[in-house]
């Protein structure tokens, strides 16, 4: 690191090499053998293997590469990998930077850092299993949906009888979740509005339905009830003994598309609408029956990749934070003080001083994470369920899936491996050049 000392020994070392090349070779040999056996040979063999077919005997030239770029699964994998490489390292680094800068100023910063860094101590496999549970659909089991649903339900109340619906051939017909009678209401003839499909557990406390009687004073009356007696007995569309009432259902009288009157059913399922409702159609609005909100389908086809990236960020933001915090400790205080004295506000200090000074560290973090993300496998393999695995596919997973098993084609697998290598190369070159530049400085 120290530039002053670098010149002298280097010259002496090169003179030794020139004088006794065999000794240099002796020292280099173990490293070369290891590198050759563990790095160079596998790379060369992979390239070689990628030019042969599944059995490994027939030469196919670039056939495997052509298959690679025409196969839907691999194309999805390439697209997803791009998303991963762009999003995951950026978000991790940004979060890491924010955490590092903020924790520098608080007294319990170390405790905070410890907590954020802790996920790094968990293996990818364990993290995958954890997030599989976090993203569970059922709000009673998955944390993500539990939070989402409770926020949603705060603003949007649950309905009284979710899932209730009329019989297909009955008096009510449905449009957009609400149900309207086919004929007009008549004050002299109470309206029967039968529904089915209510889970028995919801009906445990419900009272028995009673048939409504004509009110006589022009009011329109009727009953809303579950037209299904236990054991399947009972006559359809008639209020039979033992059939349960649906209390709290809103009934609207609609004339020419306008609501003229509303009523709510009582304990025994009956309702009474004012005289204006006579001759209007009765409607049970959809708000009575909307199903309980079930949260977001995190692992569905569209959200599965973002969801898995989020779990990656959870793991690696801590790593970014620790590296950046170390870099931050080396930022000269005087620079920040000088900026403040010159009248810069905190945002300007952060934006114009801290970030530029930290740039090399940020680059290291970003590049390390990029390399790391290119070969992401475990999280995707574990978190994505079977139905959406192909939507979440990434190159390393596709490599595994096409290389092993009975439908295995290690030719294609090797081709994917070579492609991955090519993708990593530019990042590596960047990293090496940056290191060189730094050493020269």
């Amino acid at each position: 690191m120290s530039t002053a000392a670098a010149g002298g020994p280097a010259t002496r070392r090169s003179s030794i090499v020139r004088a006794r090349p065999w000794s240099a070779a002796c020292f280099l040999l173990p490293a070369l053998v290891l590198l050759g056996a563990l790095v160079v040979y596998p790379i060369v063999y992979s390239v070689h293997r990628s030019l042969f077919d599944a059995s490994g005997t027939g030469f196919v030239g670039l056939g495997n590469y052509i298959e690679l770029f025409t196969d839907d699964d691999t194309l999805t994998a390439i697209r997803n990998n791009t998303v991963w490489v762009v999003v995951a390292p950026t978000v991790c680094t940004a979060l890491g930077l924010i955490f590092a800068v903020l924790t520098e100023r608080v007294r319990w910063g170390t405790a905070f850092k410890l907590i954020v860094f802790m996920p790094m101590a968990i293996s990818m496999l364990a993290a995958g299993i954890i997030f599989r549970l976090v993203y569970e659909q059922d709000p009673d089991r998955g944390v993500a949906n539990a939070v989402w649903v409770s926020v949603h339900d705060t603003f949007d109340e649950a309905s009284a009888w979710p899932g209730a619906r009329p019989r297909p051939d009955g008096e009510l017909e449905g449009t957009g979740g609400s149900y309207t009678t086919k004929s007009a209401a008549d004050a002299a003839d109470p309206a029967n509005l039968p529904l089915v499909g209510v889970p028995p557990r919801d009906l445990a406390d419900a009272a028995e339905a009673s048939p409504a009687r004509p009110a006589g004073d022009g009011k329109v009356t009727g009953t809303v009830w579950v037209d299904f007696a236990k054991g399947g007995g009972g006559e359809p569309n008639a209020v039979d003994p033992g059939e349960k009432a649906l209390a709290g259902v809103v009934v609207e009288a609609v004339r020419d598309g306008r609501v003229v009157a509303t009523a709510t059913t009582g304990e025994d399922g009956t309702f009474a609408l004012p005289a204006e409702a006579d001759g209007a159609r009765l409607r049970l609005p959809a708000s009575n029956f909307t199903e309980a909100y079930n949260g977001v389908d995190w692992l569905g086809p569209s959200l599965v990749t973002p969801a898995i990236i989020a779990s990656y960020v959870w793991m690696w933001a801590g790593f970014a934070m620790v590296l950046i915090a170390a870099g931050l400790a080396g930022v000269p205080r005087e620079l920040l003080e000088a900026a403040r004295v010159d009248g810069a506000n905190e945002w300007q200090v952060f934006r114009r001083v801290t970030v530029p000074v930290l740039a090399p560290v940020l680059a290291v973090v970003l590049v390390t994470l990029m390399i790391n993300v290119l070969k992401i496998f475990d999280l995707v393999y574990i978190i994505a369920p079977g139905a959406t695995q192909s939507d979440a596919n990434v190159l390393a997973l596709q490599l595994y899936l096409s290389s092993f098993g009975t439908g295995a084609d290690q030719g294609v697998g090797s081709a994917i491996a070579v492609l991955l290598l090519l993708l990593v190369v530019p990042v590596m070159v960047f990293n090496i050049r940056r290191l060189r530049r730094e050493n020269r400085r």
Binding site: V196, G197, L203, F228, G232, G386, F404, G405, T406, G407
Partner: protein
Amino acid sequence: MRTSVRTTRSRARRAGIALAAALALSLTAACGGGDGGGDGSGASGDGAGDGREATVELPDLKGQKLQVAAVWTGPEQKNFRRVLDEFEERTGAEVGFVPTGDNVATFVGSKVEGGAPPDVAMLPQVGVLHQFAEKGWIKPLREGTREQLGKNFSQGWQDLGAHDGEQYGVYFKAANKSLVWYNTTAFENAGVSEPKTWDEFLEAAQTLSDSGVPPVSVGGADGWTLTDWFENVYLSQAGPEKYDQLAAHEIKWTDPSVRDALNTLGELFGEKELLAGGNQGALRTEFPKSVTQVFADVEQPQAAMVYEGDFVAVNIGDTEAEIGQDAKVFPFPAVGEDSPVVSGGDAAVALKDGEGAHALLTFLASTDAAAIWAEQGGFISPNKELDTAVYPDDVQRDIAEALIAAGDDFRFDMSDQAPAAFGGTKGAGEWKALQDFLADPGDVAGAQRELEAAAAKAYGD
């Protein structure tokens, strides 16, 4: 890790045992009855009393270590472990169990490539058995095993384990995959009875739905349950000849018979209210959950029926429901002329040509091994010599007797006959195509195209 824990345990156990094989067997039978609790005490009590005789001779394998790879987890793994324990006690070998995860073919394949295959693997797919035999990864059975096989198995089951006239596999565990399990309370409440035909089935489902219980629980998160649905409908509707042709990919998946079967299936999958949780809910339901949501709460079930094989009994065992009382079963309804009989099974194959591996196969082909698991439940043996009295309840006994009675008149699970890339890979091939169909049952033509494209690639034509 897992192996080493097991090994220590078995070594400790072995130290204490210096009894003759027959005595040891009666001891394990007694233990089995105790552990089994209420579910099978009657049957296993008898077994212990008789002191079942060993029907197979096994070599002394003291000091040998074997590995068995199989897909089983949870209660199934525990029950299979009992079979292995018995083998350990009789031979002195140490047997480690390696769970393979969902994809047996991939797991075993990568182990073989890596040069360290397990001694014995349980292959759930006939197609994989053929592929492995072709590659020379599995070894032909020896004389002793073939003898047991000839004595205990009907020709149909023997042929399933053969490739090019050479016998490779022992069908240790069979499955009757044409059963619909239902919650009796839900059926009583809705006033419906066991349907015989597809139309009656849909009608019953509609009535159940009206009664407020979602009628059918589909474990769509696991693609294989969907292939089984399709196979039953197809076998019943298109007939066994077409079934064999489609299984061999002699007719394409774009065939009109496939369209008809998917349309029939769509009559169920297309009605959101007939599926527990709707289509999206079904896609998120794994097989174990598809069973427990029918039987976990006997009085207030989340679904009334679940279709799958006899092994559903294992998962029902995890709930409070009593098989035969709370949980009953009826044959898959007939879509065409007859009700279908689709079966499946796990074939034990040797990946190493050692004495231990072959001795284990011989043991698995014997009636003794079948009896150990049979009395634990959740297991149907294709072994025709097995006394059906060992099954823990009447429901399982009937299923087993029906399977034996069918003789050679059954069809093996089609997806298991296909190459693994098509019929046995998570998130690919038939599994994925049928999941897409479940998500969008209106698109029959699209599903057919997807199926044919995947099949053409996997069958290599």
